[in-house]
Structures are given as C-alpha cells and as structure tokens.
Chain length 145, copies 2
C-alpha cells in the first residue's frame, strides 16, 4: 500500500495537466514507480437535429485523434513512453476505475479544484473516483488563486 | 507542489490508522518530508438530561486525555516525535484544514473507505477536506475486503 509501483496519472488536457504531471513524475521518481497516462473523452450524446454536417461517428473519431495527439505531446514532455499513454472514451469516472484495475495501478493521481457554494453538492469526478477506486488516490490541488 | 516537505497525517485512531501511518511514513521517507500527526475529537453536543453523573467538561477532558495517550503510542510506533503529535477538538473537517494551514502542510494523508449505495450521497470527511484543503490530499484506501 505504501510502495507505489504503478501510478495512473489522469489528465483532462487543460493547462493544469502539466502541473499535475510534474507532481506525479516527481513522486514516481522518489518512490521508484512508473507512470501511465490516461485521458478520457466523454461524448455528450447529441439529439439528432435534422441535417447534420458530419456523421457523429466521424466527429468522435476526430475528437479521439485530437486527444491522442495532445496526450502524446504531454507524454513526451513528461517522459512517459507512447505505449503508456492511453485515450479512452466513455464515462470518465468509470473509465478511470476500469483502467486502474486493468493496469493494476496502485495510485491514481488526478487534479482537484476548490469548491464553493452549491457546487459542493455535486458529485465530481475526484469524489467518485475516491470512493470507487481500487487503490489510493492523490488529489493534486489545482486552480489556486 | 510536487516536493512535499511537511505531511499532515490525519488518523481516527481506529485499527486502520497504523496502515495509513505506514503509508505516510514510507512516502515521507521517499520524498524527504517530515510527518506530523493529527487526531480530532469531535464532541457530540449532549442535551442536558436533568442529573448527570459527571460534568461534561470533565468527560471532554477525559476523552482528550485518552486520545492523547493513544496518539502518543501510535506516534511512537511510527517514529513521529511527541512534539509533532497533536490532538484537537472541534469539527473534524474544519480542524484538519485549520491545522494544515497553520502548520503549512503541503500534503494531507487520510484514510478513505469504499462506499456503496446511499452513503455516496453523504459528504464524508475526505470529500470535504479534498475541496477545502489548502494543499494536496492523499486518500489511502482502507477497509478493503
């Protein structure tokens, strides 16, 4: 439980991802773990509105391609080999837990934002992951003032 | 953010505390951080019911004393010096955040239990701490089957 061997670094590909990535990398270096990168593309189902300019399958493929390219850039900057960079599509929380199990991750690293007011009532990704995860979870504080 | 210097280890003094403590200690050793121990005694306000056998102030003092003794034993087993072992009373979540700020902790380590069903709707300590914390939070999975 204390000797982390495989860290699953979950990024949303925002500007905070590099910050969280550096944190995970430093931790991995300190404890001698390897890092795998995960980004999940969650498709919001769109109701058909008569004519569409592009079939939805094609839009999804383009979103996935773009995510893969951006994750590859991030992986390169963080020194994570391409084979350890993964883009999945589906429910974000479910995919994180699924991949963590599948890859036998012993630590999930993700970002956490400060909450105020009503938003505290909503179940955010990090909360759900926290309780469904098969392993430890490190929430890296991002978006500090 | 990645180079942790001061880890605030929060324990509820259940049997899981040693497990979480070992995890925090191993991490601290790996990254070269120091560990401070915190236990918070939350007093449930009791309505006066006529005669009481003991004044409530005395009960509180005894609870605090007992907690201090148990925390000292745990601190000793984990190699945390007595000066770095702290028992506070009040709201658990508020005290964790307050002490984290006061002690300039850059990582809070606490336990997290798996949730099922309705309990996922309740705001647990680790959720609240996750979003109110001034620093990163490591949730160590306990109570695995």
């Amino acid at each position: 439980m204390s000797d982390y061997r495989r860290i699953l670094l979950v990024v949303d590909l925002t500007e905070d991802s590099m910050l969280i990535g550096r944190c995970a990398r430093a931790l991995a270096a300190a404890v001698g773990a390897e890092v795998e990168l995960l980004h999940v593309v969650e498709f919001v189902p769109v109701e058909p509105m008569g004519e569409t300019l592009m079939p939805s399958v094609q839009i999804e493929d383009e979103l996935l391609d773009r995510a893969r390219q951006r994750l590859a850039v991030l992986g390169n900057e963080l020194g994570v080999p391409p084979a350890a960079c993964r883009v999945e599509s589906g429910n974000v929380k479910a995919e994180i837990v699924r991949i963590a199990r599948e890859r036998h991750a012993d630590l999930i690293v993700l970002g956490s934002r400060e909450r105020h007011g009503l938003s505290i009532l909503v179940n955010f990704t990090e909360d759900t992951v926290l309780h469904a995860a098969p392993c430890d979870v490190l929430a890296v504080r991002v978006g500090r003032p």
